[in-house]
């Protein structure tokens, strides 16, 4: 039992240390607020620089012309880079989306066993791989075999990067579809494949689109794998088996040139790229993530959306 004297002792002690504890609490709160500010400052600075420097570079020629010769007066534009990035996104989606969605269907509908868990685990691991390693791998397996840098090689590398993202979001959004939907389908005597494709996929549509869009946003900014696969070029694309240019690659090349005009163009290309990526990210958030439940999707992937 606590005697009255002991209780008085406790109270005295409490009064003695509460002041110090509150001060520590205040200091921690201010520090934590400082951390948030520290993280927002670079973002603000990047946005400010990209906007002010990038808008200055914009013109119709800049968007449509081929780059001028290095160091010459004709600065040209980034037309091939924009074309290349769009072509790469389209082709990678052609490879990555069907495989990713089918894989996601497997994980969600047939994956409740040891094999499913293994695939899920390694899929998560693949999502965090250094992308440059995937570039080197594609170089060894496709570029060396075929003998030339090509759009195909670039798309294959990018499709490997987008695959885990699509697979994971597909799985998560299919799992959000209530079992009763599936049971209703089975009760009508519909085949399992039709239940999955017609009922479950339709119900999970917005989640699927979210996953695909986030994967597209992620791959459109990837540079490292492209060095090894499409090489870069200053001409418009002539075929799918030759080297092409891409926006991130062009930014990298421009940044290493010692001319002011190249710098300006680099900022301009960065502006286009960042607008594209932010538009996808913000658009997805406002169009699809509004619905309850799907907002968990992004975090299920351990923040794997860059």
């Amino acid at each position: 039992m606590i005697t009255i004297e002991q209780r008085a002792e406790f109270r005295k002690h409490f009064r003695y240390n509460i002041g110090r504890r509150l001060i520590v609490d205040k200091i921690i709160k201010i520090t934590v607020l400082g951390c948030v500010a520290l993280a927002v400052v670079p973002l603000a600075s990047i946005m400010y620089e990209v906007f002010t420097n990038g808008v200055a570079a914009l013109s119709v020629d800049f968007l449509t012309q081929v780059p001028g010769a290095v160091g010459s007066d004709e600065i040209g534009g980034i037309g091939p880079a924009i074309q290349g990035t769009l072509a790469l996104i389209g082709l990678s989606c052609l490879i990555g989306v069907p495989i990713g969605i089918l894989g996601g269907i497997f994980l969600s509908e047939y994956g409740n066993n040891k094999y499913g868990r293994t695939v899920r685990f390694f899929n998560d691991v693949l999502a965090e791989f250094p992308t440059i390693v995937i570039g080197v791998f594609t170089f060894v397996i496709i570029v060396i075999t075929i003998g030339s840098f090509s759009v195909w090689a670039g798309s294959f590398a990018l499709s490997i990067i987008m695959l885990p993202i699509i697979m994971r979001t597909t799985e998560e959004s299919l799992k959000l579809v209530p079992v009763t939907y599936r049971e209703a389908g089975y009760a009508l005597g519909i085949k399992r494949s039709v239940v999955v494709t017609r009922i479950v996929l339709t119900a999970a549509k917005s989640g699927l689109v979210t996953g695909i869009m986030l994967a597209v946003a992620r791959i459109s900014g990837e540079t490292a794998p492209l060095i090894f696969t499409i090489l870069g070029s200053s001409q418009f694309m002539t075929g799918l088996d030759g080297p092409i240019d891409a926006l991130p690659l062009r930014i990298w090349r421009l940044s290493s040139l010692p001319y002011d005009s190249a710098q300006t163009q680099g900022w301009g290309a960065a502006f286009i790229l960042i607008m594209m990526i932010f538009a996808i990210n913000i658009g997805v958030r406002y169009v699809f993530l509004r619905k309850r439940g799907t907002s968990m999707l992004k975090f299920k992937m351990f923040g794997g959306v860059r």
Partner: protein
């Protein structure tokens, strides 16, 4: 009759569908296996010539006839830059996670986590561009010069004239890049701590910080370690920003000693020297070999991280059920 027909055909399509799904899922495993096989075979010639010296040597010479490849400086460079980035980025990330999960008023939570996630959406090459043309000047005149003037050449890690493109700059930009990853995972993990834990601590008269330290932190420890390791994996594999900012020295000069000295990481040497390497040569094999080392390191790190995070999530599911 027609019902029977449906049954018959349904078995077939279902089987085909299941096999297609199974094949797509297996594709992931096949890709990982093929990465290991191809990188090993692609770099076989350099392992044959250099042996273990490839891991421990610091000579890097691509001149025909005097070729010698040692990747030790780049392996060290990778770990040093990632380590410094973690040292800077982790406290900030945990601070943000704590703010978002414990302190922030409801109105602020969504916009701030949105801003932090936008930071994650910025492509690495744009971080590099920003670091090269903007951040470099600030860091050189505000951080590096004062540190250099204060300690001079007496302290080895601050020796050498700061140039702006060095290990410190690359590490700080790397820290900025891992903050969104680590903070958004940590926030999720902290939010997963049951409120009853917090309420118990509040009931004992704890302040917010004490609640965090005594109730939230112990509960989410293994998840936070997992988040840290995932951040580390990302920092180790990051290529473009580091390549543009680290200054790119080669050979034993790249061995990290001073913060103000140009360095090189495994990823950056691959990006830098790839264009110079001729196909089928030893130089290319050496670069692929570095890719193999980087792959194995990142693979190991990610496996450990996912095991930790998965265990955390599982224990939570158990707690919710119980």
């Amino acid at each position: 009759m027609s019902i029977l027909n449906i049954k018959k055909s349904s078995g077939k399509t279902d089987k085909i569908f299941k096999i297609a799904a199974l094949a797509s899922a297996t594709y992931v495993l096949v890709i990982i296996a093929m990465i290991i096989v191809n990188l090993t075979s692609g770099s076989a010639s350099v392992w044959q010539k250099e042996g273990l010296n490839f891991l421990t040597g610091s000579d890097w010479n691509a001149v025909e006839g005097r070729e010698s490849y040692g990747a030790a400086p780049y392996i060290m460079g990778t770990f040093v830059t990632a380590g410094i980035a973690m040292a800077i980025g982790l406290p900030i990330s945990f601070g943000i996670a704590m703010f978002l999960s414990e302190l922030a008023p409801k109105i602020l939570r969504t916009p701030i986590s949105f801003l932090v996630e936008l930071l994650a959406a910025v492509p690495s090459v744009i971080y590099g561009l920003w670091g090269l043309f903007v951040f470099r000047d600030y860091i050189q005149s505000w951080i590096e010069m004062p540190l250099h003037n204060l300690f001079g050449d007496n302290v080895i890690i601050f020796s050498g004239t700061p140039f702006g493109l060095d290990i410190l700059t690359a590490s700080i930009v790397l820290a900025i890049m891992i903050i969104p990853t680590v903070s958004s995972i940590s926030r999720e993990i902290m939010l997963a701590v049951p409120n009853s834990q917090r309420e118990a601590a509040y009931m004992l008269g704890a302040t917010k910080w004490e609640v965090f330290r005594m109730a939230v932190l112990p509960y989410s420890k293994s998840g936070l370690i997992g988040a840290t390791i995932l951040g580390l994996g990302r920092a180790i594999g990051e290529t473009m920003a580091v390549t543009m900012l680290i200054g790119n020295s080669t050979g034993s000069a790249a061995f990290p000693q001073s913060l103000f000295q140009p360095g090189q990481t495994m990823a950056s040497i691959m990006a830098n020297e790839f264009a110079e390497a001729s196909q089928g040569g030893l130089h290319l094999a050496a670069l692929i070999g570095i890719g193999l080392i980087l792959f194995l390191v990142a693979f190991g790190i990610n496996i450990v991280a996912h095991l930790l995070v998965a265990r955390m999530v599982k224990s939570h599911e158990g707690a919710v059920l119980a």
